[in-house]
Chain length 389, copies 2
């Protein structure tokens, strides 16, 4: 398998983009990435796109072919592949593209993640989110994605003494980071009181514990590491790309406060990249809910199981902490257009490793980790990135 | 890249399977394939699944994780990836799995295609089918998938003198073949008069020119060729796996009677496999409509452009013809559960190359080709299979 690098990135703002269609979003992010990488259209060998909602929200499937056509590249006849793994669809597109380059099958590959979610009725959104969990055994009996995470939060609080305030601190931190990110949906600081005073969604989780649905698109250009310098002075090496699955329904898990697929993916990713959790300089993790970030930092080994609340409260995951988590603002601060999120995480890590993350720059960042999960963790995907020069 | 073989196959009957859920379908096909390949659950390294309709028809996304869980394999934490390219979703799953094995990334990989389509209201089906074409530029102004193919048929008749009867012969042939296939949805012979007397869908295409929506599931087990003999006495070699895209909307094409993505994919597939069209012993091609098969046999090089109607009328594509096409009955005779179709085509080719296709066995079959397209040809995927012993 060949070594793979990211040579270009591009992203739209995330949010309620009333003036941008699905196609506009893809085009903007794609053109930015192509210009960033200084590749030409005819250099592109393949495209992978992560998306979940297009079929229901814009009544369009077959979006692999669609976006290649939109980009004016139909004449190239390149393979264009849409993948979906719920909220991890973007990270899945990155992984499939990584495999295509690593295998020697393709050289220059575009990865895109796109969603257009804010132009539809509320009940369609609730329906969509319920389809990422086990619809027959969870959804149809009344469970929602939020209520399942609420149960996880309750057990975490009960078993480990995690406090409501510690959980809220995830949102406070991520909003503070998002305030420094021009592409984020929510660029304003909030307080613990704001979180605890926001409307209840599923006890104990409140509105400000939840990431938002959003419109947005992000794109990456991948290339074999040996030719990456042709396109950029600062290629970012992908040193691990690992995807794992686990039970989709909570009732089949031994312990709902642990995401098995994340634990398994982290173990393999650290082995493949030859690093330990202590060597990771910062991470973009899946904070679909505040409690999701607490689980993530535990399951990724940044702190021990049960200590994620305290770890967060102590500022260890703050942008100036021991292991900054979600310097971009995360799903909470940036907004969470499902298929775009995993790709945006990679864009943020590349910006940080290039030293071009502006106000939110992490000092001396060399190794970053991206973590994305589908639903309540039926799928976990982890990438590790390194700047070597 | 390593050589890849199919070591196991399994399929459900296709049709209106009122007593089988989506999960049941996957389980039946998957268990058959696993038993056929004599692999154990713990040997499986990854799974790829092709599906298009689950989000809308059973309100379930994230089906990669779902089916691994259903199969009792969640404890293995294997990567499970759902792909979608409209009607070519099953062939796309096969191609992604092929790449995973060829690259050395995984050894034993399950490919599945599953749809549950007959339990929903008619308008939901029409909506789904309109989402495989360019929804903004074709669908929203009133075009349907059937009406676009009707325009293609009209131009083919006008330009090349193709007759209505020649086009109908595709359905007659494929129904005759399906009558010999115990897994097919329509196991009865029809006549040209039946086709021409069936209700009009989009002039000149009639009900019996159209493949049906259906429930169904098919599965394959792939392995590196060098270890395939461990699992089966008759491994079937995949000698080419090629995916191409083209314009999604008809109005952007130079010639709507040619599917550019098929022409490009065929050219590359023949090169990679080291064969010419004349060396192909039989093919399973995408006959979503009768006219689609006419285009396919021309674009694949089995006959010249414009001669597909005559070629079919002369019996060249019959099961005892020069190049049998759709010995299984094709999409027309078997039914067309979108994501399952491309996988079922591969199952049929393996059965034929093993010499176990029963009444529909093609004599001395050594090399078979599978051709699958999405929508009106925005995506084309071609696989070539060979039995070498």
């Amino acid at each position: 398998m060949r070594e793979v690098a990211i040579v270009g990135i591009g992203t739209t703002k995330f949010g309620e983009l009333w003036d941008k269609s699905f196609r506009d979003g893809f085009a903007e992010a794609g053109v930015k990435a192509i210009m960033d990488a200084r590749v030409r259209g005819e250099d592109i060998d393949a495209l992978y796109i992560g998306n979940m909602s297009a079929g229901r929200f814009i009544e369009q499937e077959h979006i692999g072919a669609l976006v290649v056509d939109c980009a004016g590249l139909a004449g190239l006849n390149i393979p264009a592949t849409r993948v979906e793994a719920a909220c991890a669809s973007g990270a899945l597109a990155l992984r499939q593209a990584y495999l295509a380059v690593a295998s020697g099958c393709h050289d220059i590959v575009v990865v895109a993640g796109v969603e257009k979610m804010t132009d539809v009725a509320q009940e369609k959104i609730e329906d969509l989110l319920a389809s990422v969990i086990d619809r027959e055994w969870e959804g149809f009996v009344g469970a929602t994605l939020s209520s399942l995470y609420a149960m996880i939060a309750r057990l975490h609080m009960h078993r480990y003494g995690t406090t409501r305030e510690q959980i809220a601190q995830v949102a406070v931190k991520n909003h503070a980071n998002a305030a420094k990110n021009p592409d984020a949906q929510f660029r304003r600081k909030i307080t613990i009181e704001d979180v605890l005073g926001s409307p209840l969604v599923a006890d104990p989780l409140r509105v400000l514990d939840c990431s938002s649905i959003a419109d947005g698109a992000s794109a990456l250009i991948l290339a074999p590491y040996e030719i990456a310098k042709k396109y950029t002075d600062t290629p970012i090496h992908i040193t691990a790309s690992v995807q794992k699955s686990s039970t989709i329904a909570l009732h089949d898990r031994k312990d709902i406060t642990t995401i098995d697929s994340t634990v398994a993916a982290a173990k393999e990713a650290y082995e493949v990249a030859g690093v330990r959790p202590e060597k990771i300089d910062f991470a973009e993790v899946h904070d679909s809910y505040t409690i999701t970030e607490i689980l993530a930092i535990e399951d990724l080994g940044f702190c021990k199981k049960g200590e994620g609340g305290k770890f967060t409260e102590d500022g260890k995951t703050a942008i100036d902490g021991d292991i900054p988590v979600n310097p971009s603002g995360g799903l909470k601060g940036c907004g969470h257009p499902l298929g775009a999120t995993g790709v945006r995480q990679a864009c943020e890590i590349v910006q940080q490793l290039r030293g071009r993350a502006g106000e939110r720059q992490i000092k001396d960042a060399k190794i970053g980790l991206a973590h994305s999960i589908g639903g309540t963790g039926g799928t976990s995907i982890i990438h590790i990135f390194e700047r070597r020069d």
